[in-house]
């Protein structure tokens, strides 16, 4: 297993390199002079030029890239032009907030979406199945920024049950803290929840027609065990793939959700930074999110191996050892 993880890490290395290159290129292509933006409209040409120099913006691109890589290797993501703070601090400050939001959304999505999919598959073509499928189809079609706005409209503005914006702090007690969390996490959970339900259903249906399910039934096992033990464990593999992808989608969705609910997370940080043309922050945070995604994928790969013994350490064709 250790060997396997190391191997996967090596496989992911080029992806990280590509990510770093893409981020670098994109941020250098952002139009507008960051130095000028930073110093404001009253700044003199000389001041701007001085700042450009100190930021290394006048260096040729390859040299800028070289410095960027050197910095990255030292774990240095740069210093924000507008916040005057190291990017790593900003990330450390904001990321836990996003993590809380994403984690609670993921929990909702998994614990509702997957069981719904299983029930739907085991009662194929029943009323229940149609209901789950229709609701989940609406779920995947949902513009979540609209859903967020609507939730605010009904549950905060009209009913006043939950706060519309902001993130509570633990000092106010657990209940207010959770109240702040409810609407954003439901908003963020919608699409993954619906996706899980759909994928669980379709992969369960595929697995249920396999020969080994027939074997399990011919042993005299009850339908519950056939479905929940024999079928589900096999259906997990495609589900894991989707899980990895959904986590990435959620980091994206967080951008929108955090904007709606004024949630002080990474998403807001990025949107604000784009607004202010603070390309160092954009560069750092986007890179950070991409790396998180890569790590999530590594985790998913390792889980594959746990769930599915057929995944081989090597990629040899022959199953013989």
């Amino acid at each position: 297993m250790g060997k396997y993880i190391v191997r996967r890490l090596f496989d992911l290395l080029p992806t990280v390199v590509v990510v770093a290159i893409i981020v670098f290129i994109i941020t250098r292509l952002i139009p507008g002079d960051p130095a000028a933006v930073m110093l404001g409209p009253q700044a003199s040409v000389e001041d701007i030029e001085a700042l450009r120099k100190s930021l290394g913006l006048n260096d040729p691109l390859y040299l800028q890239f070289f410095h960027y890589v050197i910095d990255l290797l030292q774990g240095n993501l740069g210093v924000s032009l507008t916040y005057n703070e190291p990017i790593s601090h900003l990330i450390m400050e904001r990321f836990p907030n996003t993590l809380i939001l994403a984690a609670s959304a993921l929990v909702i999505a998994i614990f509702i979406g997957i069981p719904a999919g299983i029930i739907s598959a085991s009662k194929q073509n029943s009323l229940m199945d149609y209901a789950v499928m229709l609701v989940s189809l609406i779920g995947v079609s949902m513009p979540i920024f609209w859903l967020g706005v609507m939730l605010v409209l009904y549950f905060s503005v009209n009913l006043g049950w939950f706060p519309a914006t902001g993130m509570g702090s633990m000092e106010e007690g657990l209940i207010p803290y959770l109240k702040h969390l409810v609407l954003p996490s439901i908003t963020l959970a919608t699409i993954p929840m619906a996706t899980f339900a759909r994928i669980t259903r379709s992969s369960m249906l595929e697995v249920i027609s396999q020969d080994y399910i027939k074997t399990a039934r011919s042993k005299g096992l009850g339908e519950f065990w056939v479905v929940c033990k024999h079928a589900f464990k096999n259906a997990l593999t495609p589900l894991l793939t989707v899980l990895g992808m959904q986590i990435s989608m959620m980091l994206g969705g967080a951008v929108l959700t955090e904007t709606i609910f004024s949630w002080p997370g990474m998403g807001r940080l990025i949107v604000d930074a784009i607004d202010k043309r603070d390309f160092v922050v954009v560069q750092g945070t986007v890179l950070f999110i991409a790396v998180i995604f890569v790590l999530v994928n590594l985790f998913v790969d390792v889980m594959y191996k746990v769930v599915n013994p057929r995944v081989n350490y090597s990629s040899s064709k022959g199953g013989t050892k």
Partner: protein, 322 residues
Amino acid sequence: MAEAIIKVENLKKHFPIQNPIPFKKSNQSVKAVDGVSFEVFRGETLGIVGESGCGKSTMARLINQLVRPTDGKVLFKGQDLAVMGTKEIRDSRKSIQMVFQNPYASLDPRKTIKQLIAEPLEIHKVGDKRSRLKRVHELLEVVGLNSYHADRYPHEFSGGQRQRINIARALALNPDVIICDEPVSALDVSVQAQVINLLKDLQKKFSLTYIFISHDLNVVRYMCDRIAVMYLGKIVEIGSYNEIYQNPLHPYTKALLSAVPKESPYEKKERILLKGDVPSPVHPPSGCHFHQRCPQAMECCKSTVPELKQNGTNQRVACHLY
């Protein structure tokens, strides 16, 4: 003795296995075909039999260079295909055609029968559109289908009919040799018989040479003039069908023949049951590959690889017993 149209010399194909440790080259490989030599004479049918994993399918693909060999020669009419460039090989495929095992998967589902059968003609730029169409109708007739089938799609045909379409396509360019890779093993017995009859008729009519690959000893016996028995990438015995069936020499050939199910409820069969499984082609046993399972293994079998030696008129066997 007839002229050898294909001659294979010391042919090898080793598929490398990726090393689990990154950046390290692996020295392990699957030895699918491991030093095989034989010849095929014009107008005959050479059968290659063996069980799954013995390398017979790779063998088929090596002959027409669908798989490039690791080592060795494939002489077609005296020219070595193994050293040819891509373009020359493409030309050589005009004369060496193939019929595959799975009649369902071997026809592109999105093409009509007409397009499928005309494809080899198009590829090699034979004739114009009209003459190709004429040829398609001719070929359909030859394989026992009707010309009105030309505009249909493969899924509208049964397995047997599809195999006829495959055969028609293989015939389109008037090849010298057709390599048949398990052409009837996916078919029901009654349909099997139809396709076998067709193949035999066509051989006479167009003086074709067949290389017939199969795991079914009865089919091979019925189809072939000479038979090569493969085990773990090597030929263990080769000879005329009489020699192989009446007087099998290699213990593996004997076991294989004895395993064929009875032909009647009255037949009493003496079975030679082999022990265990076929060993991995990654680490084949030392010496004779068969020695661990061989009922007649001797001490020398563990260490020395037996050569394929002449025994009788045309029969050759790779065994220390002879």
